[in-house]
């Protein structure tokens, strides 16, 4: 088996090392960061479809909101979850 290359990224302020070729979603999930986001009414949510349709896995990667299941890990990424709740709830 070829030697695995690694990426170092920051998840919610914590540096983690993950295998290259995995998704940011997997990195968040493996780090135990659940829920991934809060819904409009404040519910805890996690990834659903895993293939870019449902948008439940959105998080902010380097100041841009992305679907983390479609986003490969890269060295130096900074990842933050969308935990803000609708201001009127």
């Amino acid at each position: 088996m070829p030697e695995q290359t690694l990426a170092v990224l920051t998840l919610e302020g914590v540096r983690v090392t993950v295998p290259a070729g995995t998704t940011v979603l997997a990195a968040l999930q493996n780090a135990g960061l659940s829920p991934l986001r809060r819904s409009l009414s404040g519910e805890a949510r996690g990834a659903l479809c895993g293939m870019g349709s449902c948008s439940e896995c959105r998080a902010v990667v380097d100041s841009q909101t992305v679907r983390t299941c479609l986003t490969p890990v890269r060295d130096g990424q900074n990842v933050r979850r969308l935990m803000e709740v609708n201001r009127e709830s």
Partner: protein, 369 residues
Amino acid sequence: MNAIVIGGGLVGAACADALAQRGARVTVLEPGPVGGGATAAGMGHLVVMDDSPAQLALTARSLELWEALAPALPKQADYHGCGTLWVASDEEELAAVEPKRQAYLAAGREATLLDAAELARAEPNLRPGLAGALRVPGDSVVYAPAVAQFLLERAGATVRREAVSELIDGGVRLESGEMLRADVVMVANGIGAVSLLPGLPLRQRKGHLLITERGPVHVHHQLVELGYLKSAHGNDEDSVAFNVQPRPTGQLLIGSSRQFEQPDREIDWPLLRRMLRRAAEFLPALENISALRIWTGQRCASPDHLPLVGPHPHLDGVFLATGHEGLGITTALGTAELLAAQVFGTPSELLKHDFTPARFDRLPEVAHA
């Protein structure tokens, strides 16, 4: 009294409600979903505007009526009193703020001047170096399709999903061929009025809107550049202006564009880009969020930018409520009050101004300042 209202947008719904409050039995004819036309396409900004004395009177009175209605509105109407900031880019624009403030105060609307530092504190995401703003705290935003539905229910109106093919003496003929009789017929179907009454001085004026995802960029007021109508949308050419609204969901609604003679629904990508660049000049942080949906809609504009509200000059029993251009949501309630006053002879301060369709017989074309 039996009344027919043609059009189930917010103007039609407000008219139906006003007529029902005064005892009329109302049938609303709307082939599409309630509030599915221009009502759904617009921003839902409830805003006092002072481009003419008549416009100021109509918008100011309408805002009073919205404030009175607000406690009864359902949650899904998303009524939200965020106020408007009229943003001045430079000292020259800022100089225009004081007369505007005086006009608002005279119309009974609160308005305060923010200097550059106060503006930066109120809206930290605006770019540095802006001169100041006029803050109009009584302005609001609303989700108009839900209000239209609410008003129709409150009116106890019969809503029939049918289109009108023509106006006939004492009623209407439906596309199905059926004839409906009524004491009064309200034509409140926006630009659709032209197909029933050819020759009305109405034109479509297309606009683009974009809504962002819920994101890290927050604003607290509806933000509009001070030159919104006068310099930005003041002539017949394609135009864009900075106009951003915070939705209660944390999303931003971004406008605005105006284009005559573009009756299609297509997105004009280069114009959209111009519109967004204008917005990003004021709110540079927009670079960091994503668009969720982009759509277009058609405003229904009259030559003097005032709606046509009142009796048709030649057809007995036919009243018009159309031609609101970009202010149909704001002025729907004032329009309905005015129309009810005309139908029932009840008092309204708005009767002092001439909104009647007949004004165009006297004034075929009015150049607006």
